[in-house]
């Protein structure tokens, strides 16, 4: 059965994209997005995208990494099996710095990458838009705007007219096949 994914259109001019983003946002649409071959400066602000919480996830993971590293070095060396090696103390902060630092970085990096994909709900094997040849240009040479049919304001004619008035070309309804 074919279902409607929504309406898409393309832009060639980055300046128009910013204006269009503000226009769509002003109308009150929520479920829309611009698909671009590279990140466009200023588009986040124009679309009113909220700052991501990713840095906090990374920071939390970093703290966790540091805590785990310190605990590991202290517990194995000073509690579980204290062993005199070269007359050095069982635990001291100074020689623990390198490993604490490395594990902080490691945890931050893993959390950043995993967190980024998770917040983006990726990986995704299927997208409603994927078979639209126009949509595929978003990874090549065009800026593609999509307004989702699930948006409460979505209306085939009105949304189409809005996108056209904002300068989008080849505005069309995109359908997908649901299994």
């Amino acid at each position: 059965m074919n279902k409607t994914a929504g309406i898409s259109g393309i832009f060639q001019d980055p300046d128009l994209v910013l204006k269009a983003a503000e226009g769509i946002r002003r109308e009150g649409y929520r479920k829309y997005d611009f698909h671009t071959p590279y990140p466009l400066h200023g588009l986040d602000a124009a679309m009113g995208i909220k700052r991501t919480i990713l840095p906090w996830i990374a920071f939390g993971a970093g703290l966790l990494g540091a805590a785990v590293a310190l605990h590991l070095q202290w517990w194995t060396g000073a509690v579980d099996y204290p062993l005199v090696i070269g007359g050095k103390p069982f635990f001291a902060f100074e020689p623990s710095i390198p490993i604490t630092f490395e594990l902080t970085i490691l945890a931050t990096a893993i959390a950043t990458v995993v967190g980024m994909f998770a917040l983006n709900r990726l990986p995704q094997w299927f997208s409603k838009w994927q078979n639209d040849p126009q949509f595929q240009r978003a990874t090549d040479d065009a800026f593609v705007v999509t307004v989702d049919a699930e948006d409460p304001l979505y209306h085939t004619d009105k949304t189409r007219a809005l996108l056209e008035s904002l300068g989008a070309e080849h505005v069309r309804v995109v359908e997908y096949h649901e299994e």
Binding site: D15, V17, G42, L43, T52, P95, L103, I105, L122, D141
Partner: protein
């Protein structure tokens, strides 16, 4: 010089339409991309390499490097089944060829992270054309590096208990107070973070290839590795933040890795190793050697893959400047080591350094000085910095010189022990030489496979720096 600038300025002003003050500061500089390619051209240029059938030249080269790698694997197996005795290591030279190679390969990797992380934080846009392949080199170099300490343990199959804190039947833990263990964590983290960073950068480019893929295997593979990337701006928002965080943490990471590698030596009490200059000296040397290797491979790759439009003479010149700056730092370190040996008043320290320059391994020392300090001085001349063949030859000298640097540090400090009765010499065996040659083969094979099947340029990043790619009326 100033007249050239003036001419450029006028030309740009004319183009911009009669001297408005809104001249983009970048337009006063040499362009990063030659000609005026559009986004489509970038996609085409990079994808063509991957979508075309491999050439005969590629097959021949990959067979040769693959054979070299196979020979290396054979000699590694020979070492493992026979014992470390097949190497030239002895008393007093307990660390020799293998650790030299380890430090050499780790150092090669540092250019990739410098380009991808540090130059990103400094907003050096010229990095975009070279970061992908330099990062690939980082990962492959670290793989080659990791081989050496693992096989040096003699029994690699149980090495995991000596290297990682795993519970075992003896209830023993690894020694967290040893710099060698710090190194395990540093190199392990470095490999993981570099691989993650590289993968994140590749995701949008895999999506580009997925949308173009014609054959089934390509479609499936690129769909899998692109993770369903669509280029949605809500995704880009988090993606850019993630990239910034990764660059931010990779910067101290890359400085820490060779610092910790240098601790392997500096924290010991061997004269010639026990010096506080080692961490910055090793980091500078690592970046120096890394840029040498990047130039060696890039000058060939840009020609063979027709990327001259994107990897321009300006890129080569910039890399040569970095090479010269880090080369001077290394030269400074060579000098200061001698000064401190004299100034410390420690007779053992003095002996080691006089022996380094004038002793039995003096030829290795002077090879190192010639390759790393004297020859790169040619880069003071702009003509030479922009000359491909001369740059390529100098980069080979840098590779050789930096290998000898590690050899000199390790072998000359050890071969004259405190007591003359325990003095010795180190000569590599055919197994030593074969394993190193094998890692060179492995490195080149991995690079060739990368250059054929993975986008060698960061497609999305290059599109972002094309003229007119970004909105003019800045909203940020």
């Amino acid at each position: 010089m100033s007249t050239v600038m003036e001419k450029d300025r006028q030309r740009n002003w004319n183009v911009e339409g009669g001297g408005t003050l809104a001249v983009d500061s970048h337009s006063l500089r040499e362009p990063l991309v030659e000609g005026t390619p559009g986004m489509k051209d970038v996609t085409e240029t990079v994808s063509r390499v991957i979508e075309a059938k491999p050439t005969r030249l590629w097959y021949i080269t990959v067979t040769l490097t693959g054979a070299l790698a196979a020979w290396g694997i054979f000699t590694i197996l020979y070492t493992t089944f026979t014992g470390i005795g097949v190497w030239g290591n002895n008393q007093p030279v307990g660390w020799a060829w293998d650790i030299t190679n380890f430090v050499f390969w780790i150092g090669i990797g540092h250019a990739g992270t410098l380009i991808s992380a540090i130059l990103f934080l400094f907003r050096q846009k010229w990095r975009t054309a070279i970061n992908r392949s330099a990062e690939a080199m980082t990962i492959f170099a670290v793989i080659c590096a990791l081989i050496f300490p693992i096989i040096h343990t003699g029994r690699p199959w149980v090495a995991v208990y000596w290297l990682l804190p795993l519970p075992n039947q003896m209830d023993l833990w690894v020694n967290f107070r040893s710099p060698l263990l710090w190194d395990v964590f540093a190199v392990g983290t470095y490999f993981t973070v570099s691989a993650l960073f590289w993968f994140v950068g590749l995701v949008p480019d895999f999506a580009t290839l997925r949308n173009r893929a014609k054959n089934k295997i390509g479609k499936w593979a690129f769909s899998f590795f692109s993770m369903g990337w669509t280029g949605a701006n809500r995704h880009w928002h988090r993606y850019e933040k993630a990239y910034l965080i990764l660059a931010g943490i990779s910067t101290p990471l890359v400085l820490s890795v060779h610092t910790i590698v240098s601790f392997d030596f500096a924290v010991s009490v061997i004269p010639g190793w026990h010096t506080t200059i080692f961490p910055p000296y090793f980091v500078a040397g690592a970046i120096f050697s890394g840029f040498g290797m990047v130039l060696t491979l890039m000058i060939i790759a840009r020609k063979l893959l027709n990327l001259e439009q994107f990897i321009t003479i300006k890129h080569i010149e910039n890399m040569n400047k970095v090479l010269m700056a880090t080369g001077l730092m290394v030269g400074y370190a060579y000098g200061i080591e001698f000064f401190i040996a004299w100034y410390s008043g420690n007779p053992y320290e003095r002996f080691v350094f006089i022996n380094r320059a004038l002793g039995p391994y003096g030829w290795a020392y002077w090879t190192m000085v010639t390759c790393n300090v004297l020859i790169p001085q040619l880069f003071w001349f702009r003509k030479i910095r922009r000359h491909l063949l001369i740059t390529w030859i100098i980069s080979i000298f840098v590779n050789i010189g930096m290998w000898f640097e590690r050899f000199v540090i390790i072998v000359t400090s050890l071969h004259r022990d405190f007591l003359p009765s325990s003095w010795g010499m180190f000569t590599p065996t055919w197994v030593d030489v074969s394993i190193f040659a094998g890692t060179v083969g492995l490195f080149l094979t991995l690079f060739l496979v990368f250059a054929k099947y993975i986008p060698v340029l960061a497609i999305s990043e290059i599109k972002g720096i094309l003229p007119g790619a970004q909105p003019k009326h800045g909203h940020h």
